[in-house]
Amino acid sequence: MSDIVAIPKSSGCDFVGGVFKAYATESENITAVAVTSGEITGFTMASLGQWGKLEFDDQNNVAFFNENSERNGNVVRVNGTGLMSFVGLTSAKIVAANKAKACCGLVIIWFHYDGTVRVEGIDVDPTDNTWKFANQLPRIIPNALSGTGAEESRLEYNVTHQGSQLSSICTLDDAAIEAL
């Protein structure tokens, strides 16, 4: 149902941007999702230990998860883009990146510096708390960068997806995700 919900003016000035951590899994590992008031409050997984923890080395504050919508006629689509940066290139990181690249459709939980946690790849319908996977699920597009002598070498994960809804808030914390 359409509606214009009032958004009051914000108070304070502590609205730091950026993301610092994420968990990712193949969408096929997720059997069910619990949604309450438009927020994701639980997952049921078809196998155990399938959430990979990705902790960025973000001293340069380059990591982000942004969503920009576009209109085509009367259809509005949401395009998500994200960047994770990991300092240093090692064999283990290159193997990890090649495995991540092979995943056809992911669900990613992003942790923002301001405490917000959002789920990319699941479109929640706020009118009835149902959900579906995004029509173009997130994929990881990796970069292995030597950089120049003035920089750090690094591995980067670029992430893109396209859905019909902005990514929902998730109420799960680290412990609840890692327990799955």
Binding site: A32, V35, T44
Partner: protein, 87 residues
Amino acid sequence: MANVIYKVHPRHAGKEVLATVVRGRTVNLAGKPATRVHTATLTTAEWSETIPAATQDDLKAVFERGDRDAEKFPIVIAEPAKEEKGK
């Protein structure tokens, strides 16, 4: 208490693992314990833990939480319990 039994929807009844967190505890809705293997890290050896089978209370909590699959079917359903003969 009404005679209701909670169980996994038949769409998912054949699965070995249906792991979820209920009241801060991981349980397997699929009705039997499951083993989770934690891979070794730089600081810890490989170890495994047993995820217990969900109880009726756990299934009831998931039913009331309203978990649904991508086709909008509830993952847990409630059915009237069959009465035992002679009671």
